[in-house]
Assembly symmetry: C2
Homo-oligomer: 277 residues x 2
């Protein structure tokens, strides 16, 4: 009898054409399915909690599939990792229903967007950050050196804009231009800025947790926040983007993919819904 | 008239055949020289403070060259970065003598060696750590899951071994087998272990600062420390490796290159020597 396997998956998105399987392209889902097929000796179809775009990373993507093969959690993790390339790894396994679809069980997701606030790029962070070079201005004690250079970024305004995003709003202005879905109301549980991320003096992390996200939403939010921080737009204008009638052209630019990481997916929506019926 | 340019350089060593220029191979020095040549419109030869092997990273490598082109510090950094690939970047520039050779001006160097102490590998750290999988044992509350798994690593013994390394010793047992140089005495200013590096629960950083290092020295030290931590060798045996007659075969394995980063080079040896004459 078939049972379900639910995996927590991490990946470096640099060399993938995104999460979703696409014929002839290197994708995270394709790599996972190839590895799972070698473990279960048969074909498989996996379901992910969310599609991430090319270049976007994950620390806690959720992927599920059904199989008749029986292994304990440790063996599943070890076996699949053996057949995965270096840039994808399984972190944990839990059993689930065979038809389990993490997309419908996700209560909320947390994303992190990393920005490098320094005039000079950093080779060790090239694939992990948005380098804010010409997007913000820098204050320099002297024109000819880089010593003592400070980013001119209004963090207080950026934090105010984060607070504006929290709660339930219509985020239609913060989605990819081609997206035509009707329901664009989402609830953001928190939106915060962390300076000196991982002890790095010039890393700024924007972390946002919400019940659901539309395509490019976090990247457009990041682009809009940087416009606020640099003084190119007001906190008030961010508030206006959540009002009826706002559209994509009024929001900020779409920040590049490599700064984005899917950090965590909180599961259990189905159990929650069942309990409330 | 020619003057000297001294650069602080960072790189991700993953896709390089090491620092040193080699015909037909992608090297850090080769990439730097190509970029500098585009800025100065002529041929150049650079000198580095230390050669790093393929896969080894740098946060603070020092590279110098002579030129007749005059630019201020900020312009040098910006101009060279424009022509460098993503995985190398210049962080700072300072003027120096035209014949300046950072190798002879290095007072000491600091290296960091990163280890992942978890039974499951991490895709996001694949090119930055030595994954201690079979090298150490893990304690698990249950055989079938990965929850609550803890590395069995005697950190107190590893810290004792670090203390043994500090000071002036003959490090002949800690160098690549093919190395035949006569002077193998080096002074380690400090050798330390940092748990939870950058807030990561399973990252262990071995940091060592010394007046000079031989090829593979930090990697053999890291391999030997892990043998101490796992209980395969005693602190006393590390002390014995610094005694006359010890040789390479008695030390631990050479840890893989991707865990190693050249963090910092302290310059000023020539000024110091001039002052003491």
């Amino acid at each position: 009898v078939a049972h379900g396997v639910r995996l927590t998956v991490a990946y470096d998105g640099t060399d993938f054409h995104g999460f979703q399987r696409q014929p002839g392209l290197r994708t995270v889902q394709g790599a996972l399915e190839s590895a799972v097929e070698r473990v279960i000796h048969g074909p498989t179809t996996t379901r992910g909690a969310g599609r991430t775009d090319a270049g976007v990373h994950a620390e806690g993507q959720i992927v599920a599939f059904a199989t008749e093969r029986e292994l304990n959690a440790r063996r599943w993790v070890q076996a699949i990792n053996r057949y995965l390339p270096d840039d994808v790894s399984v972190r944990a396994m839990e059993p689930c229903e065979p038809e389990y679809d993490p997309r419908f069980d996700a209560r909320d997701k947390t994303y992190r967007y990393l920005m490098l606030t320094a005039p000079i790029r950093d080779a060790l962070l090239a694939h992990r950050v948005w380098h804010l070079n010409r997007h913000i201005r820098y204050e320099a004690p002297a024109r000819d050196t880089l010593e003592g250079v400070q980013p001119l970024l209004d963090l207080a305004a950026m934090r105010e804009a984060c607070a504006v995003l929290e709660g339930t709003h219509d985020f239609r202005a913060f989605r990819a231009a081609g997206d035509t879905r009707d329901n664009t109301v989402r609830t953001m549980l928190h939106a915060r800025l962390h300076e000196h991320w991982q002890g790095h003096p010039n890393l700024l992390a924007f972390e946002i947790r919400g019940n659901a996200f539309m395509q490019n939403m976090v990247r457009i939010l990041a682009g809009t926040l940087v416009a606020v921080g640099s003084g190119r737009r007001s906190v008030e204008s961010v508030r206006a983007l959540l009002e009826p009638g706002a559209d994509r052209r009024q929001a900020g630019e779409t920040a590049p993919p490599q700064g984005l990481t899917l950090v965590h997916v909180t599961l259990g929506r189905r159990a929650l819904e069942a309990a409330s019926r």
